[in-house]
Symmetry: C2
Subunit: 441 residues, 2 copies
Amino acid sequence: MRLSRYFIPVSKDVPSDATIASHKLMLRTGMVRQNGAGIYSWLPLGFRVLKKIEQIVREEMDRAGAIEMLMPTLQQADLWRESGRYDDYGEEMLRITDRHDRDMLYGPTNEEMITDIFRSFVKSYKALPVNLYHQQWKFRDEIRPRFGIMRGREFLMKDAYSFALSEDAARVSYQKMFAAYLNTFDRMGITAIPMQADPGPIGGDLSHEFLILADSGESEVYCDKAVLDVPAPGADFDFDDLNALEAEMSKRTQYYAATEEKHDEAAFNAIPADRQVKARGIEVGHIFYFGTKYSDPMKAEVQTKEGDLVTIHGGSYGVGVSRCVGAIIEASHDENGIIWPDEVAPFGAGIISMKPDANDVAAVADEAYAKLLAAGKDPLYDETSDRAGPKFARMELIGLPWQITVGPRGVKSGTVELKRRATGEREDLSLESAINKVMGT
Amino acid sequence: MRLSRYFIPVSKDVPSDATIASHKLMLRTGMVRQNGAGIYSWLPLGFRVLKKIEQIVREEMDRAGAIEMLMPTLQQADLWRESGRYDDYGEEMLRITDRHDRDMLYGPTNEEMITDIFRSFVKSYKALPVNLYHQQWKFRDEIRPRFGIMRGREFLMKDAYSFALSEDAARVSYQKMFAAYLNTFDRMGITAIPMQADPGPIGGDLSHEFLILADSGESEVYCDKAVLDVPAPGADFDFDDLNALEAEMSKRTQYYAATEEKHDEAAFNAIPADRQVKARGIEVGHIFYFGTKYSDPMKAEVQTKEGDLVTIHGGSYGVGVSRCVGAIIEASHDENGIIWPDEVAPFGAGIISMKPDANDVAAVADEAYAKLLAAGKDPLYDETSDRAGPKFARMELIGLPWQITVGPRGVKSGTVELKRRATGEREDLSLESAINKVMGT
């Protein structure tokens, strides 16, 4: 993308209510614009990151056998009356009345709707297990929206819903999501720790929150340092291997890791002192087995092989897709701006032409742009006539993984400057070597 | 995708309010499920088509230089009070009050919001022209939603907004969208005719509706048959070539084509009788130059090179993304089901294994699946134990462009049956030849 044809409204002024790094940086880089309390537009740069995260989530859900679909944002109140949650949900539910005076709501989550879809189509055990997911905008009417898109009112969430014949089968569905989440966050360049969370009225051990450690986190979390070093299952993981699924869970649950609500001080103190981690965490995902909580009142039943009717066992699995954008920035920035991990960067590399009106400089910069474009590295090409200082500062601020600077002196000696944003390391290289290095990531 | 692991709830029963082909077929193929009046879930098969269309729209917008972003679904009423449309819009606007009693609404369109974003960031002529677009769910509280997703209340729309310094510059922005729309619909496999439409209070010739001809269309349209034969600009079209842009418009506007509102009986009668087309049309896009309609009241001004303040000239450009799914089906189906054009088909090919429990049949069908998958053709593999009749009927119904049938007799003689859905043509071929033929499209 040529910057002169793009729209990145960077800004020095940040409103005083922006107190955490990700909120400030997303405003300064022109990634988002606030349109109302807790409601944001995703400007072009922010939109690109959001789409990358959505795509990673999609690929990892698909790999784990979940099936993508899309439910609407608005729902009928009647469905929520069936489950009993319409009155329970409280003021965070945005209630709406249409022109025919029908009670509707802006979906904060979709357990009722997906259960309704399931029961209307699935009558036999043969279709089970099944896991359906979507990535759709949700609304929760937070009383005090804050931290930018991290705690907004309109937010993008991936929510998956599994249906199984028995508690045992539901456990397998749960374990698949557990493993898929580890891969998902790993690909985003963040370490999300699964922590025991409050399982709600159902009980059992099947409720985990996935949190990343960050000073700006809203929850206090406790864990054994060792859990941070367990590698993600990886791209070759076999989701049909039941032993491997169980192992991925136990590899982690052998170490202590809990949110405040589930914290057990004695168990925590039993960890060797140098491995005790008490920190703040940002929740980026939550997985949950809820048994027959919705299928019971909503009569989601299927016929078994033997002809009996059984109520299905369900689980739901959320990823805060838009929140992940903020969480990644919280985990990866410095005083000059954002440091994007490679897989989620809005552009793979930045090219700065120091003298766009000098033919020799323009020729080399154009070549760098054409080659990275052709190689699918999606470069951002700053060929504007802005001064050098602001150009460098802007490129640092938006934090693309690589910067290639083409200047008159380098061009005379046949080199460009390649800089890795994360380490600050700079090298003078031939254009060819610089491109090869960028392509290696 | 293996059908046994997928979710396509085909159904024979269609409610009596489904009167048009696309509505019936989308329900019968399990593409969508109604969740309320004019509100639908996109089940996995329908979702895939929707995403393909969204991607075509994206690629063609990007090619024409428009920049993608994403605005929220909910908006503040105050913005609409500024433009004067809050009171004018009437009952189709879904008005919402949040927990703090603030007036909000579910966006039916985004002229106000994008003008607000523009004015808050752009102060200089240097950033112009610019065209920002998004693909987001909209809501219009239709009094009588009908025709399934074709006239729903919650619908997906691509809306682009251009900003230019002058009427002349705005005309270029308009022409780019005109050409981009021709390519967009062409890639979807439909012939959308740009027709003169009511330009509203601004006047001028810069308002076109894009319609496809279909008996179920809601508007009466009139055109010269010759306009149907003008080819789309194509993938190599240069959007920076002003003469070419003008030519793409005049190539079409030389022929009569108008909606009912703009119909001129005398001009129509002047067309040679064998070229007079009077038909019904489905609107799939609308492009519109509106000058300073929003920038005037909302004070969207920029400084010119000479230091003067000028009010910007705007246009908006819509594509009914979700409606296109229905429009394509209206244009392309037969008594057995849908006939998907190649570029928007939910899967590139279907493979039917006639005897999944016979090793030799399974081996050939598995090979067909693996090869098409590796080649990126995204096959749907029916390896279920259903009977042959229902398997064929289902594959016809969902209408993938190609069907490869692997049966015991063919396997013995080293062949599979390849069928083209659109023509019904069948051939017995070696698996290799069949795959080559499928890959050729």
